[in-house]
């Protein structure tokens, strides 16, 4: 029986819409994962600290208010600086296509647009988290 995958779903910045984050948390639980949701208005520093304390496998960043080019790279850098560079970082919300290339180059593994089925996200996670040998 494989160990459950641990996921943190975070809302950086001031955007207050959390329907997607909460629905995803419930959905991933149904997919057998252990999920923590940070709540609203999280700073990059607190998100990374939570990743460390919980030693998560996956970080899902949910942002609808346009601050992704500011917050996401910052979070990725902080993860690396704090020994958490192995975390699979995913993003969701409203992220224009033209920003996606640079975000992926920075280290966001995949960006899921509105309407992506949860099962698709769960499958992606399972395929992409680092195994014990990497």
């Amino acid at each position: 029986m494989s160990k459950p995958i641990k996921v943190l779903i975070a809302k950086p910045g001031l955007d207050g819409h959390d329907r997607g984050a909460i629905t995803l948390a419930m959905g991933l639980r149904d997919e057998g994962m252990e999920v923590i949701y940070t709540g609203l208005r999280q700073t990059a520093e607190n998100i990374v600290r939570t990743c460390s304390q919980e030693y998560v496998d996956v970080l899902g960043l949910s942002l609808l208010s346009g601050g992704h080019n500011y917050y996401f790279p910052k979070i990725i850098d902080l993860l690396k600086e704090n020994g958490m560079g192995h975390v699979l970082v995913l993003a969701g919300g409203i992220i224009p296509n033209e920003d996606r290339k640079s975000l992926k180059e920075k280290g966001i593994k995949e960006i899921f647009g509105p309407g992506t089925p949860i099962s698709e996200i769960a499958d992606f996670i399972r395929k992409n988290i680092k195994g014990e040998d990497s």
Partner: protein, 254 residues
């Protein structure tokens, strides 16, 4: 992740949070290095005062813990918090929602919060939780708080790994029959009636009646709180402080 376990342990004990997080995950996942970890840890135990907090759903447990941690921090104590939530028996997954209630401590270096799913262990207290408490102790925390659910017979497990067990109840939660089934009532060191503003007297009476019938030698103190409004927290802290001093006194004598 193949990492040098001794390096991880050293990192964890010198304050590196991702190393400590990694150790906790290793014991949770029953990694091959667990025996080494426990070996090192066992030689450094004894500093931490361990509090187990259990209670009925809706009792405001998490808010209470949030306030307790704040009070302990104001006294300069470092705290490790473990929040245990049940895993779904069907999917094996869990939503670990307790840490979100301790948001005020997110950026405090003196508080380390870790969520753990019960992963099938009936009372929620698996071997992993016991090991996690030891790791916190060994890493230098002054206090370790374990929050869990389960007040029936299955909730008694917590008493085995902590120094003091708190049972948190709230008015309107249940009647005397349910209270009688609250096995933790038999073993709790302190009983807290939270949300006391809703009318604690009825519940306090029921508790007294049940305790009178039990095999306990002495009745535990019953403290009323309104965690949301920060009422009663000082009294509770005082009670815990006394017990902590007692615990350290005894430890020194050994």
């Amino acid at each position: 992740m193949k990492q040098d376990v001794d390096k991880l342990i050293a990192g964890a004990f010198s304050g590196d949070e991702s190393s400590l997080g990694c150790l906790l995950t290793m014991v949770e996942n029953d990694d091959a290095s667990v025996s080494r970890i426990l070996e090192v840890v066992s030689s450094k135990l004894g500093r931490a005062y361990r509090i187990g907090i259990t209670g009925s759903p809706g009792s405001g447990k998490s808010t209470l813990i949030d306030k307790l941690v704040a009070a302990m921090r104001s006294k300069g104590l470092t705290v490790g918090v473990i929040c245990v939530d049940p895993s779904s028996p069907i999917t094996g997954g869990a939503v670990l929602g307790d840490r979100i209630r301790m948001e005020q401590h997110y950026s405090d270096d003196g508080v380390f919060i870790r969520s753990m799913a019960s992963r099938g262990s009936y009372g929620g207290i698996s071997k992993a939780v016991g090991a996690a408490v030891d790791i916190f102790d060994a890493s230098g925390k002054d206090v370790v708080v374990i929050e869990t659910v389960g007040i029936g017979q299955e909730g008694i497990d917590i008493t085995k790994i902590v120094d003091t067990t708190l049972l948190v109840l709230a008015p309107g939660w249940g009647d005397s029959m349910q209270l009688m089934k609250a096995g933790v009532l038999e073993v709790a060191d302190i009983i807290v009636i939270n949300k006391a503003d809703l009318g604690a007297d009825g519940l306090a009476d029921s508790i007294r009646e049940i305790l009178a019938l039990s095999t306990r030698k002495s009745a535990p103190p019953v403290i009323q709180t309104q965690a949301f409004n920060n009422i009663g927290i000082e009294d509770l802290c005082h009670e815990l402080e006394n017990r902590r001093n007692e615990h350290h006194h005894k430890a020194k004598e050994r």
